[in-house]
Symmetry: C2
Subunit: 602 residues, 2 copies
C-alpha cells in the first residue's frame, strides 16, 4: 500500500540492511544469493550481481576485472547493464548509441544520437546505479565495428548527481501495484560523454592507442556461457513462482467450500471438483516438472562451462537452444498458471492479500526480458530446422536432440497404447512426445517456403521443449528418491504433466499420426484417474515445497488454513479504513446526496 | 500514480462532476450511461445503476419501486447490491446472513451469525453507499425460507456514519495499480439490525403482518431478465476492452521495428512478421466477432423481455444458457488477449503509460464476477446435455440450439473441403462448427458417468458458444454493410476468427472426425493467406473503432504514431523523477557506497 516513492525508498532500505547482514555474517556468495531471494522484491542489487558483475567477468580483461570487480564486490560502486534502448529491444544489432574513438585524447565519446537511442529499461539505472556496462556501436577510424560493451561512470560518488552530459531518470510506473515498481528501471541520454579508452571491455577485441580495431584470440563463444547461466536462473525462478501460486491455490481449494450434493446440505471442498482438479493439478505437476528440469539445467551449465574451458564448442548450439527454449516455455506457462490460479481462487484471488496479484505482476515480465519468448522459440525452431537437415545428411545429433537420430523409427512408429493402463508406461509416453516433436520439425522443414511456416516452426519448438521437460521428469524418476511413497506420488505427477499436454495439444498428436483419437481418449481417462489419485496428497505435495507463511505472503495460502480471519484482518489495514467517513465526503458525496451540487448556468 | 486514498477521492470527485453535468444537460438515461462509460473508471455509481436500481425494479412491489427508486434516481440515496459473503460466492443458496421476522415489532432482524457470513466484495459498500439490497436467509415462524432481498439503510444521511449495529469497511487493495482500487469494495457485519417489514422486496413473495410466508402469483422467471441484461452489458464491455487492446497493439506494431532482412539494413515493422500476425490478427477478428454477437445479444434481451411480458417462458432456458456462455467465453478470451497484446508490445507493454496494464487489471475480474466463468460453462454444459436428451426424444430445439435438430446429418457428415479456397465458404465453416459442437455434446452425454465427463462438458460448452459467435458473424455478413469494400474486409476477419479456432482446437475437430488432418492443414494455409490480406488494412480496421487518444490512454496506441516521444514524456511525470537524487540516498545508499553501514557487533 506504499506510494511509488515510499516503495522505492523501502527497497533501498532493505538492500542496505541485507548488505549489512551479508558483511556481518560473512555470507558466502551462495548464501548472499539466497538472502536476496528471500527478500523477494525486485531491486537494483539484482542487476548489479546478475548482469553487471557477470558482464565484466565475461567480457573484461584480467586487468579490468581486477580493477572494477574489486570495487563492485564491496559495493563501492553500483552497476547496471545498459543495453536496450527506447526504440530497440531484442535486436541488439539495431542499437544506436555510439562510442566514437578520439585518438587525440585516447577517449571514447559516448553519445545518444536520437531520441530512440535513449537507453531505456535497465533496472537500477533510474536512480541508483553509479556505473553501467553500456552497449554502443564502436566507431574508430571512421568505421562502425558494431556493438561493444563499455564501462561508464554515471553518477558522482560524492553526491550521487549525474555526471556532465548524462541525463537520467526513471521510466515510470509499471504493471502491478508493487512488483517492478520497487525497481528504478531507467532512461539515459548521453551527450558526447568522454571515457578513457581502457573502459571498453577488451577481452574479445581491443582498440589500440592509435585507434586500430584488433580481435583477440579469445573465442566469442565464451559469451554464451553467461546467457546459459542467466536463463538457467530464470527457469529456477519460474519454477519457484509457479510452486508458490499452486501452493496458495491448492491449500485454499481445500478450505473453500461451494455448492453441495444436495440443496441445503453441507458444501463441498472446491478441490474435490473435477473441473478444479483438471485445472489445478496440471499446474502442480508443472511445478515439479519445472523444478526437475531446472536442476538439470544447473548441471548443464556446469557441463557447458567445463567444455568452454577446454575450448570444446561442439555442444554449445544445442545447449543454447535448449536453455532458450526452456526459458520461454517455463516462463510463459508460469505466468499463465499464476493468472489461472488467481481465477481458481474465485474473487478473493484478486485481493492483494491473496498474494497472487503481486506474484503474477512480478513474474509476467519474465516472458519478455532476457529474450522475448516468441523470438526465443523462433531461434529454437531455426536450430531444429538445421538439425533436421544435418540428420538428413548423416550427422549424429547431440544432447536433447539425440532422439532425432532415431528418425527412421520415429517417423513411422505407431503408439502401442491400447488400454487406459498403457498410458502408465513412461516409454510409451516418451515415444509419442519424441515422434510428435520430430514429425513437427520435419513437416516444418518441408514447408519452409509456405506462408504459415514461421508459426509451424514456433509450434515445433514448443513440442521439442515439452519433450525435454517430460524426458527430464522421467529420468529423475529413474533415480533413487528418498521418503516412503514419494516416488509413487511423483510418478503420478509425471503422468499428469505428460498426459495433460497430450490433451492440450491433441491436434498436434492427431494430425501427425502419433496418437489415434481412441488413444487420446484413453489418455484423458487415465488423466481423470490420476487426478483422483493425487487429490488425497495434493496438500502434502504443496506443503513439501516448504514455504513459510511469511514468504508465501498470502491470506489464502496459510499453512493453518485459517484463511477467512486472515482476509478479514488484512482488510482493515487498508489506508481507506483509517477513517470511517472517507476523505472526500464533505466535498463530493454530501453535496450530491443533499442535492447541493452547484449547478452552473448554461 | 495516486495513492489508494487519493485515487478513491478522485473517483468521488469525478462521479459528482458527472452527475452535475448529467443534471445540467438533462441527459437521457442512455446518454448518462455513455458518460459513465467514458469516465472509464470503476466506481460506486456502477453498482447503484447496474445492480441496486435493477434489483428494486425487478423484485420490488410497485409501492416499493415508487418509494425507493424516486430517491435513487435523484441520488438522494446511493445503493449497492450486497449478496456475496466472505465464505460464499457463486453459491447463493449457501449464504449465511439471516433476516429473522419479529412479529412483536413488525421488523426483520438482520444479522451476520458468523465471520464467514460477513458481506464481502459489494462495490461501493466500503465507504460510499447509504443503502443496499442485502440478501439473507428469510426466517419466519421458525422456518428458513431461503434467500431473499431486503432494502437496508447502512449510513446516516446526515453525517454518513454507519448506523448502529453495522460494522463496515473497505476490503483492501486489489489486482492492478489503479483498476478496481478506485472502487470501495466493502465488508459489512450486521449485529441484530432491525428494519421495517416493508423493506423486504416483496414482488415475488411476502411476509404478512402475522409472519406468514406467502408466494405471490408473479412468476420467478421474471428475475432472469435482469441476469440476461447484466451479462449482455458485460459482453459489450469485453468487446470494447478487447478492441482497445487490439487498437494499441496493432498501431504500435506498425511503428515498432525489429530486425531486418539483412544485418545492418533497415529494420522491419513488427506487424509484418507472420508470428506477430498470427497472434494479433485473431484478436482483431475476435474484437469484431464479439462486437457483432454483443449487438445480437442486445436484440435477444429485448426479445426475452417481450416474451416475459407476455408470460412466454419457453425460450428462457436457451436465452439464459446462451448469455451465460457468451459472458464466459468473451470475458476469458478478452482477458487472455489483453495480456497477450501486452506481451506483443514487448517490454513497453508493461509500462503503465502503454495503457495495457490498467486495461488488463480492469477486465480480468470480469472472468469471475457475475458468475465465475467455469461455473457458467458447466451450467451451459448441463443445459446442452438436457437438450441432447430432449432432441433424442423428438423435441425441437430452439434459438441457438436449433442446429441440434439436424442431428442425423451432423453426426455423420464429412466436410467437403478439398482445397485451400473451399475454406472461404461460410456454409462449410458453419457445418464443421455445428458438427463439432453437437458431437462433443453427444459424446459427453454418453460418457456422463465417467470421471472426466465434467471437463468434457466444459469443452462441449465452449464448442457450442464458439459456434454461436461464428454463426452470428456469418449472419451479420448477410446484411447490407455500408462503405466501399468494408464487407470484404469483414469477411476476411470472419474467416480468421473461424479458422484460428479450428487451428486452436484442432484436437476437437480431428477427434470428432469433423475435419481431417489434411483439411486442418488446408485451413492453416488459408489462415496464413488471410493474415497477409488483412495486413494492409489492419491499422484502418482498428482506426474504425474510432477511439480518441484520450480514451485509449496509451502512449503506444497514439493515432499519430509518435509513440517514442510520448513514452519519453510520460516517464518524467513519475513521482520518482521529482528529484534527481532519490529520497533515501542519504540514509540507505551513501552509507553503503561509502562502506559506512554501521555494523553491529555480533
Amino acid at each position: 500500500m506504499l506510494s511509488r516513492k515510499e516503495l522505492f525508498k523501502d527497497t533501498l532500505k532493505k538492500a542496505a540492511h541485507a548488505w549489512k547482514r551479508t558483511v556481518e555474517l560473512h555470507l558466502t556468495e551462495e548464501e548472499a544469493n539466497l538472502l536476496r531471494l528471500y527478500i523477494d522484491q525486485p531491486g537494483y542489487v539484482d542487476l548489479h550481481w546478475v548482469m553487471f558483475v557477470p558482464a565484466i567477468k565475461g567480457q573484461g580483461t584480467e586487468e579490468q576485472q581486477k580493477k572494477w570487480l574489486t570495487m563492485a564486490y564491496k559495493f563501492q560502486i553500483i552497476g547496471t547493464y545498459a543495453q536496450t534502448e527506447l526504440g530497440h529491444g531484442s535486436n541488439v544489432q539495431g542499437l544506436e548509441t555510439t562510442a566514437t574513438f578520439d585518438p587525440s585524447t585516447d577517449e571514447f565519446i559516448m553519445h545518444s544520437p536520437t531520441l530512440t537511442s535513449s537507453k531505456w529499461w535497465p533496472g537500477g539505472l533510474g536512480k541508483t546505479s553509479t556505473h553501467a556496462v553500456v552497449y554502443a556501436r564502436l566507431i574508430t577510424e571512421g568505421k562502425d565495428y558494431g556493438i561493444h560493451g563499455f564501462i561508464m561512470q554515471l553518477r558522482s560518488l560524492d553526491d550521487h548527481s549525474p555526471l556532465p552530459g548524462i541525463t537520467i531518470g526513471d521510466i515510470g510506473g509499471k504493471f502491478g501495484s508493487g512488483a517492478y515498481n520497487s525497481m528504478d528501471n531507467g532512461v539515459m541520454r548521453l551527450d558526447h560523454v568522454r571515457i578513457p579508452r581502457d573502459q571498453m571491455l577488451m577481452r574479445l577485441a581491443q582498440v589500440t592507442r592509435e585507434g586500430k580495431y584488433v580481435h583477440s584470440d579469445v573465442p566469442k563463444q565464451l559469451l554464451y556461457g553467461t546467457m546459459v547461466y542467466v536463463r538457467q536462473t530464470i527457469v529456477a525462478d519460474a519454477s519457484r513462482a509457479l510452486s508458490r501460486a499452486v501452493c496458495i491455490a491448492v491449500r485454499y481449494g481445500a478450505i473453500r467450500k461451494q455448492f453441495g450434493s444436495k440443496a441445503g446440505g453441507p458444501e463441498t471442498q472446491v478441490l474435490n471438483y473435477k473441473t478444479q482438479q483438471s485445472r489445478l493439478f496440471p499446474f502442480l505437476a508443472s511445478a515439479y516438472a519445472f523444478r526437475f528440469v531446472g536442476q538439470w539445467l544447473k548441471w548443464l551449465y556446469t557441463d557447458v562451462t567445463q567444455k568452454l574451458e577446454s575450448k570444446d564448442f561442439s555442444t554449445l548450439p544445442e545447449a543454447h537452444a535448449c536453455t532458450a527454449g526452456l526459458k520461454s516455455v517455463t516462463t510463459s506457462a508460469t505466468a499463465d498458471a499464476i493468472e489461472e490460479c488467481q481465477k481458481l481462487c474465485g474473487g478473493h484471488g484478486y485481493l492483494n492479500s491473496s498474494g497472487l496479484p503481486e506474484l503474477f505482476a512480478v513474474n509476467l515480465p519474465a516472458c519478455t526480458y532476457e529474450g522475448d519468448n516468441v523470438v526465443l522459440l523462433l531461434q529454437v525452431a531455426r536450430f531444429l530446422m538445421k538439425t533436421v537437415s544435418q540428420v538428413a545428411s548423416g550427422k549424429q545429433p547431440v544432447g536433447t536432440t539425440a532422439y532425432m537420430g532415431n528418425i527412421q523409427h520415429l517417423m513411422q512408429c505407431k503408439s502401442v497404447v491400447n488400454t487406459v493402463e498403457d498410458w502408465l508406461n513412461p516409454a510409451a509416453i516418451k515415444e509419442v512426445f519424441e515422434a510428435r516433436a520430430l514429425r513437427m520439425a520435419v513437416n516444418c522443414a518441408q514447408n519452409i517456403s509456405k506462408a504459415p511456416s514461421q508459426e509451424e516452426g514456433f509450434e515445433a519448438a514448443v513440442a521439442h521443449v515439452q519433450l525435454i521437460i517430460v524426458t527430464k521428469f522421467i529420468e529423475k524418476l529413474q533415480e533413487d528418491i528418498l521418503g516412503h511413497g514419494v516416488k509413487e506420488q511423483l510418478q503420478k505427477l509425471c503422468g499428469i504433466y505428460a498426459l495433460h499436454l497430450i490433451h492440450k495439444h491433441l491436434g498436434d498428436f492427431l494430425s501427425t499420426g502419433c496418437v489415434t483419437a481412441r488413444q487420446g481418449s484413453l489418455a484423458n481417462e487415465r488423466l481423470g484417474k490420476l487426478y483422483a489419485q493425487v487429490r488425497p496428497n495434493a496438500v502434502a505435495l504443496v506443503d513439501a515445497f516448504d514455504y513459510t507463511d511469511h514468504y508465501l505472503g498470502s491470506a489464502l495460502g496459510r499453512y493453518d488454513g485459517d484463511v477467512y480471519s486472515a482476509l478479514y484482518k488484512e482488510a482493515w489495514k487498508d489506508p481507506l479504513n483509517e477513517t470511517v467517513v472517507p476523505d472526500g465526503y464533505q466535498e463530493h458525496l454530501r453535496p450530491l446526496l443533499k442535492q447541493q451540487l452547484k449547478l452552473s448556468r448554461l
